[in-house]
């Protein structure tokens, strides 16, 4: 049963004002195209959850989509601050809820497993637990040290960018996997964007590569280059220059709005965005080939 959709149709059908979203991808495969479509469709009052909000949530917050942010590292990775989010938090204009990375992924893992909570060992650092009542301590029923627990986080929608998927939503991912699997199983609805839509046969030739099974997927959209300025392992490089550029750009409200106008609102889709980046950027971001080699699954008829 094909789940193929255009990205605008998938966002229109599955992302609603007030939803809690988890746009997944730890540095890698960040679904920027979906974020831009959400901005274009002018969704409001979203709760945006991500371990690393990254530029993607800085952009969504700048466009006024966000009511609240849930995070564990609100920086521009390798550069510095996420200035939009930082301004909104410092001024009290944005609600926030904060964890450590392990806390964040533990909440998703609990939800993915259908559990109400998961334990972690104590860290001895108590200030985060003091300001976030979701952190609780419970005794070890076997007489050991107390454990710290966090409750499951069930996003309304998880959005993942993947390297390749079939029309049923079975998806191959490689490179950094972050919290992709946990987010997909934790969420109530899942939208995939994919660099390539491939035949079912390509997926089924290597079932161990399938991180996301179609049965949890609501819609799959063919959107090449959807992760820029982050990257898709083997397809294009992280655009470090843009991450550095954002640092300056995002500190200037006028430039920020101009950027949103030119790169989001004025463009119909990701193909236009990629085109606008131009051939020099395309060339700069193109990796050399590094094939994985094959394994043999064997035919057993």
């Amino acid at each position: 049963m094909s789940k193929l959709s255009t990205l605008p149709a998938a966002i229109a059908a599955h992302v609603h004002d007030g939803d809690t979203l988890y746009l997944a991808g730890f540095t890698h495969l960040i679904p920027f195209a979906a974020a831009h479509e959400i901005i274009r469709q002018r969704r409001k009052d979203l709760t945006l959850a991500r371990a690393t909000p990254d530029i993607i949530y800085d952009q969504m917050a700048a466009a006024g989509c966000a009511r609240k942010i849930i995070f564990s590292y609100m920086g521009n990775p390798g550069v510095g601050s996420l200035h939009v989010l930082r301004r909104l938090v410092e001024s009290g204009a944005l609600e926030w809820e904060e964890y450590s990375h392990f806390g964040m992924i533990t909440r998703l893992a609990a939800a993915a497993a259908g559990l109400p909570f998961l334990p972690m060992r104590p860290t001895g650092a108590s200030d985060l637990a003091n300001v976030n009542p979701a952190y609780r301590r419970i005794p070890d029923p076997y007489g050991g040290e107390d454990v710290v627990v966090l409750p499951a986080l069930h996003p309304d929608v998880a959005i993942l960018h993947v390297q390749r998927a079939d029309e049923n939503g079975n998806a191959h991912l490689w490179g950094i996997l972050g919290e992709q699997k946990e987010a997909a199983f934790a969420a109530r609805r899942v939208i995939l964007t994919a660099e390539e839509i491939v035949s079912e046969d390509v997926i089924r030739r290597d079932p161990n590569r399938t991180l996301i099974p179609g049965l949890v997927v609501s819609a799959v959209c063919h959107v090449p280059h959807a992760a820029h300025p982050s990257y898709a392992q083997g397809y294009y490089d992280r655009d470090n220059a843009f991450y550095l550029e954002w640092d300056a750009l995002s500190q200037d409200e006028a430039r920020l709005q101009e950027w949103l106008d030119q790169w989001v609102y004025a463009l119909p889709d990701r193909a236009a965005y990629w085109d606008k980046l131009g051939p020099e950027v395309h060339a700069r971001l193109t990796p050399s080939p590094r094939p994985s080699g094959e394994v043999d699954y064997g035919g057993y008829a």
Binding site: H28, G78, A125, G178, R238
Partner: protein, 247 residues
């Protein structure tokens, strides 16, 4: 002698702390530079683990982000984020964690969260990321940070991760065992207070004391670090040709 910058001095001295064969949980920025320098000099059998999920990375270029694609290509293994924190860090497989932080307290607490009040922050910092658990569960931690008074307060505004103190006893990790600054190296004494154990060339005890927010003690056998060698500097500069970290 080749001239060098304060960040080069810190990176070289941090790299020297790493002994070969160890499993190192690598943070972004100077820790990343230091680990990659060690891998290319005296510690070719380091296993570099990046919280993004890469084990045994062999990056061909210096990654800007700890989630850079160059970390994956040619790595020994990739694991999801849950596994990195649970199966590697919490399980106790990490020998050394490398951390930074906006504030380091007298007893090695790190603040990477806020300056000022948490609910109405004067400066909102990125937050814990992996710091809280790395400081707790890595067998030991090294910290790299410039030596400035505002970075070394008596107490941190927010305890993002634990240094030394009573709560440390229940933890598997020994906590921060070295703080590398651009003036020297601090280590905890028996009580857990950070004391100056070595000075870099040209730095003085008085300078270090003036840039520390508590009455900084020095070890009775206060040492002098060797200046960065030409080799170390050449390798380091090759790692960061655009001087993104070697400011």
């Amino acid at each position: 002698m080749t001239p060098y910058s304060p960040s080069e001095l810190m990176a070289v001295n941090a790299a020297r702390l790493l002994t070969d064969g160890k499993v190192v949980f690598v943070g972004v920025g100077l820790p990343n530079l230091a680990c990659n320098l060690a891998l290319r000099t005296h510690a070719p059998n380091l296993t570099l683990i990046y919280e993004a999920g890469v084990i045994g990375a062999r990056p061909e270029r210096l990654p800007l982000s700890i989630g850079d694609p160059t970390l994956v290509t040619g790595a020994a293994a990739v694991a999801g984020m849950y596994d990195i924190f649970a199966l590697y860090l919490q399980r106790g497989l990490v020998d050394v964690g490398f951390l930074g932080g906006a504030q380091i307290s007298r007893t090695g607490d790190i603040n990477a969260t806020v300056i000022g009040d948490y609910a109405g922050p004067r400066t909102r910092l990125p937050g814990s990321g992996g710091s809280m658990e790395i400081a707790a569960w890595a067998k030991q931690c090294f910290i790299i940070t410039p030596h400035q008074k505002r970075r070394f307060p008596d107490k941190v505004d927010f305890q993002t991760s634990l240094g030394h103190g009573p709560a440390r006893r229940a933890l598997p990790g020994r906590g921060p065992q070295a703080v590398v600054t651009d003036l020297g190296i601090l280590r905890p004494d028996a009580s857990g207070e950070l004391v100056l154990v070595a000075l870099h060339p040209a730095a003085t005890l008085e300078e270090a004391q003036a840039n520390t927010g508590w009455p900084l003690q020095s070890a009775p056998d206060l040492a002098a670090t060797a200046p960065p060698t030409a080799d170390e500097l050449a390798l380091l500069r090759a790692l960061d040709p655009d001087r993104i970290y070697l400011k």
